[in-house]
């Protein structure tokens, strides 16, 4: 029997998942709890190079230095990069295809040295530009996760 005529089978991986429960850690928990309870964004400062990172984490990578000083950041910032997603994509959180189009951006919050990634509101696409000023819009019901920020919207500022 030739290869073309031959019946070839496949096997699915089944319905069972590989669920995880990731530790958010000390610094991440402080960040998400502050976001949930006070709609505030926290960064962490390196004692050596003075750079401020968001979200807070243990180590400044270039200095290989432990960080401990939390600092409050503005909910406003500058759009450093963005893309508008136009292909339908399975949402890793829900398993449901997310409606398109929607926007992602890299936001440099005022008072911070690295960029934060989140959704951006693209209702008025003409305003979505690198260098645009943006502000966080918080969810009404906040649960202590990243989605406590709904998205960042373009502002005149």
């Amino acid at each position: 029997m030739s290869e073309k005529e031959m019946e070839l089978l496949t096997k699915g991986s089944g319905e069972a998942e590989q669920p995880f429960r990731y530790s958010v850690g000390r610094w991440g928990s402080k960040f998400l709890i502050e976001l949930r309870d006070h709609k505030k964004l926290l960064g962490i400062r390196c004692p050596k190079c003075q750079k401020v990172y968001v979200p807070p984490r243990q180590v400044c990578s270039p200095c290989f230095q432990r960080m401990e000083e939390l600092v409050e950041l503005s909910d406003k910032g500058t759009l450093m990069a963005f893309t508008i997603i136009r292909f339908s994509f399975i949402d890793p959180e829900t398993g449901i295809t997310r409606p398109v189009p929607y926007g992602y951006g890299f936001i440099k919050l005022d008072g911070c040295d690295n960029s934060f990634q989140h959704f951006i509101n693209i209702e008025d696409e003409s305003k979505v530009k690198i260098g645009a000023r943006v502000q966080a819009v918080f969810s009404e019901e906040r649960k202590g996760n990243l989605m406590d920020i709904k998205y960042f919207e373009m502002i005149d500022d």
Binding site: A81, I84, I85, F87, Y104, F106
Partner: protein
């Protein structure tokens, strides 16, 4: 550095879906071809390094699932979870340690068996990045935007890379998507995530590759045409995308400098005859060309416009068709090395560049070229 050579290469045809082969079947095909190419038997190999990724293979310790196919029975086998250029680098260091003389390197993946966007989404932080749905395409779109905005690179210039590489693939019997395209076809293809369109992106691919590395004594004993490793460089940038300047590829600049220094190369554009570089997206060929020092910063677009990177140009890039024409993740960087080996030997068939003395192969690992590995190969 002690002299080490690549004395055998083998690869499968790269296809959208290989229904009649498991991933270990693909590895066996590539390994058999590499051994035949080196005129060796598996007995002549004293250790094996496989390139396997548990997510792409859908199982843990996936390296053990290719043990039989790699001839690892009763031998020392180890694994690198990453691009093939890094797998080969580990194999090279094993030979340089003096503990081994002939290392078989394999790398494979079957993109067809899973949902690519979910797998590439899983490379990101599960608390802050994964919930946003970021994947290889969308993170690269962000990088493309940063790079193109900073240096004034146009979508037309990116499209020219896709046109060139799909045309080159017509000369490569192992490639997946040989095509005659126009810049307009690329610009009008479906928008995925701005500025990346369908024809700016590499396809989903099944494929495997194997190469054999040997120390000088073994290389001279077995091979009539050893291809010598003249330099290798490797460097990693930060993991968090927000910590990086995505418009720049500093880790590539550093990796390239290391490899050039080792190989004694001062002017890469003049001294390198052909380059196989990791173009997962069209903009990457331009950006990596700059990082490799083939042109000044921000001049990648002008470089492709000049025609110098075409088959007949002074710096042909990706005569194989590149990743844009076939992208078996993990294997792709090893395929770049195998293609460069064929070019240096003069055995690349219709895709051969005349008089290649020095070839470059390049691979990336992590989102948006987080880490880069550069290989300089010569006669």
């Amino acid at each position: 550095m002690e002299r080490t050579a690549i004395i055998g290469i083998g690869m499968t045809k790269q296809e959208r879906r290989k229904e009649s082969e498991t991933f270990s079947d693909m590895v066996f095909e590539a390994v058999t071809k590499a051994l035949n190419d080196a005129e060796m038997t598996i007995k002549d190999i004293d250790n094996i390094v496989t390139g396997c990724n548990d997510f792409w293979d859908g199982r843990t310790i996936s390296s053990m699932a290719v043990g039989d196919a790699s001839g690892a029975w009763d031998k020392n086998i180890s694994c690198v979870e990453g691009d093939g250029t890094f797998v080969a680098l580990y194999g090279l260091t094993r030979i340089l340690s003096g503990s081994y003389r002939a290392t078989l390197i394999t790398a494979h993946s079957k993109g067809s068996e899973s949902i690519s966007s979910l797998i590439t989404n899983a490379m990101f932080d599960p608390i802050y990045t994964r919930p946003l749905g970021l994947d290889a395409i969308t993170s690269s779109a962000l990088q493309a935007k940063c790079y193109m905005d900073k240096y004034g690179i146009t979508e037309e210039q990116c499209a020219m890379v896709s046109v060139k590489n799909h045309r080159n693939a017509k000369n490569n019997p192992y490639s997946q998507l040989p095509m005659d395209l126009s810049v307009k076809d690329v610009l009008n293809s479906r928008r995925l995530a701005d500025p990346i369109k369908l024809l700016d992106a590499s396809p989903i691919t099944d494929g495997a590759c194997a190469i054999i590395l040997a120390d000088e004594g073994m290389a001279k004993r077995f091979s009539k045409h050893p291809v010598w490793i003249r330099g290798v460089g490797f460097c990693a940038d930060a993991y968090h995308l927000g910590d990086r300047d995505l418009a720049e590829c500093k880790s590539l600049e550093k990796a390239a400098k290391t490899a050039y220094r080792m190989a004694g190369i001062e002017n890469p554009f003049k001294e390198i005859d052909v380059a196989e570089i990791y173009d997962a997206f069209s903009y990457q060929e331009l950006m990596w060309s700059e990082g490799l020092g083939f042109c000044e910063k921000g001049e990648g677009g002008k470089l492709v416009e000049s025609g110098k990177t075409e088959m007949g140009g002074s710096m042909p890039i990706n005569p194989s068709g590149g990743c844009l024409s076939a992208h078996a993740v993990i294997a792709a960087g090893l395929i770049r090395i195998a293609e460069a080996v064929l070019q240096v030997r003069g055995g690349a068939g219709k895709r051969q560049i005349p008089d290649v003395k020095t070839g470059l192969a390049h691979g990336i690992n992590g989102p948006c070229g987080q880490s880069h590995c550069v290989w300089i190969l010569g006669e």
